[in-house]
């Protein structure tokens, strides 16, 4: 019985996508670059450390309202390799225009 339950737990764990944690704070994302594999399902979780931000990468289907004290995440499976720039699209102050990071998708 124990072995059966352990098998279920392991199977569920194996089905969970990898989680990539990103911190948002005026006026940067940390880390400022991540690498994903094409076809890999990943959850991108963005946490705000100060105020509302956005996290937008149109080609990859990433579009988050990043609010403090809340889980802000999206699960994607990138289908194309390349370099993709994600931006904060919720105006947060004078450095807002440079608040961005790079998502690299490799084969």
């Amino acid at each position: 019985m124990m072995q059966f339950l352990l098998t279920i737990v392991l199977a569920v764990a194996a089905a969970q996508p990898r989680v990539v944690e990103i911190a948002a704070k005026k006026f940067a994302f940390t880390p400022d670059s991540i690498t994903l594999e094409r076809g890999e399902t990943v959850t991108i979780r963005v946490t705000s450390q100060d105020r509302d931000h956005g996290f937008l990468q149109k080609e990859l289907g990433v579009d988050l309202d990043v609010e403090p004290d809340r889980v802000n995440e999206v699960t994607i499976t990138p289908q194309s390799a390349g370099h993709f720039v994600a931006i904060c699209d919720d105006f947060c102050g004078s450095g807002h225009g440079n608040m961005k990071m790079t998502i690299t998708v490799v084969d």
Binding site: G54, L56, V85, I87, F91
Partner: protein, 319 residues
């Protein structure tokens, strides 16, 4: 009468922005002129307008250490025009935001003080994100009134759209509903000039040069045969055609951004003390240099089947 000749809108870059002339063909039949007067309350007549954008009053930094000099120079240039433009449209980022309490209000007063020197009688504004995104446009409205509105001027319907006050680059459902109700009052033959801050199409989303629901705005405008969109935000001149509208970006009065097709980095172009207004469009005006006229068709919707189609043409002239 060839109805395409009824109204012609021409534009010329003054460097200070865009000088746009609107000229109905004077041979227009009196009945058609009456029709326009009935439809939007004003009879078409020739006039000129100037678009200015992105003054960023209060900005201080290496991309432009001269502060409001380019803005003030633009005002002087406009005041020297003969005839005077009947309208001056500011397409956002009038000021640059500050974290210091009271400073944003001071910068808006400075903007008003400088813009107040304009001889033109009718000066209209929309906000940019630097004016309005951090407080939902509350302070902007105290100084400049509503952030979206419409009015008619000599047969042209003007629509001011706010795509910055919600923080994200969006017009929003409420304003979109207002736009549809506003436009519904007019014949589809009425020429429409929309002025707003951000581009209403995906110019470069990873530089935040887009409006999330810009396509919905353009769909609402699609039945109208003559639509011109004037916007700022990108700090450079640009012309773009969508199905039924032509979009013109005005240069900034503080610093310029590079051609988005030439570089991946959105970094202001370097300031050149020898040419402080370089890339701001404030090139030296010489009366000896003739206008270089370059006619560009703005809309291709001739004979659209409604009561009166007009031709809108763009005359780009760089002084």
């Amino acid at each position: 009468m060839n109805r395409r000749d009824f109204l012609k809108i021409s534009g010329a870059s003054l460097g200070a922005g865009a000088l746009i002339s609107v000229a109905p063909a004077m041979r227009a039949h009196a009945g058609v002129r009456d029709w326009f007067r009935r439809k939007n309350g004003e009879e078409p007549a020739p006039f000129t307008l100037v678009q200015l954008s992105d003054a960023h009053v209060g900005f201080s930094g290496p991309p432009n250490p001269t502060g409001t000099k380019a803005f003030e120079h633009a005002i002087d240039m406009i005041n020297g025009l003969d005839p005077q433009p009947e309208l001056v449209l500011f397409t956002g980022d009038l000021t640059h935001e500050s974290d210091t309490p009271g400073e944003n209000a001071r910068r808006m007063r400075t903007f008003q003080s400088i813009a107040g020197r304009l001889r033109a009688k009718k000066v209209m504004h929309v906000p940019g994100e630097h004016d309005a995104a951090l407080d939902g446009g509350a302070l902007y409205r105290q100084f400049f009134g509503e952030a979206h509105y419409s009015f008619d001027h000599r047969g042209v319907h003007f629509v001011a759209l706010d795509n910055v006050s919600r923080g994200k680059p969006v017009v929003g459902a409420e304003q979109l509903d207002w736009l549809k109700r506003d436009l519904a009052r007019y014949s589809t033959a009425t020429p429409v000039i929309v002025f707003t801050h951000r581009p209403l199409f995906d110019l470069r989303p990873d530089w935040e040069w887009f409006t999330r629901d810009g396509a919905d705005v353009l769909t609402a405008l699609a039945p109208y045969e003559n639509v011109t969109v004037l916007y700022g935000h990108i700090h450079r001149h640009d012309v773009h055609h969508t199905d039924r509208a032509t979009h013109y970006a005005s240069r900034s009065l503080i610093f310029a951004f590079p051609d988005p097709t030439s570089t991946a980095e959105k970094k202001p172009l370097a300031f050149d003390p020898a040419e402080p207004f370089r890339n701001l469009g404030l090139q030296r005006v010489s009366n000896r240099r003739p206008l270089q006229v370059d006619d560009v068709e703005l809309t291709l919707t001739e004979f659209g089947g409604t009561d009166g189609a007009q031709q809108i043409s763009k005359t780009g002239a760089f002084l």
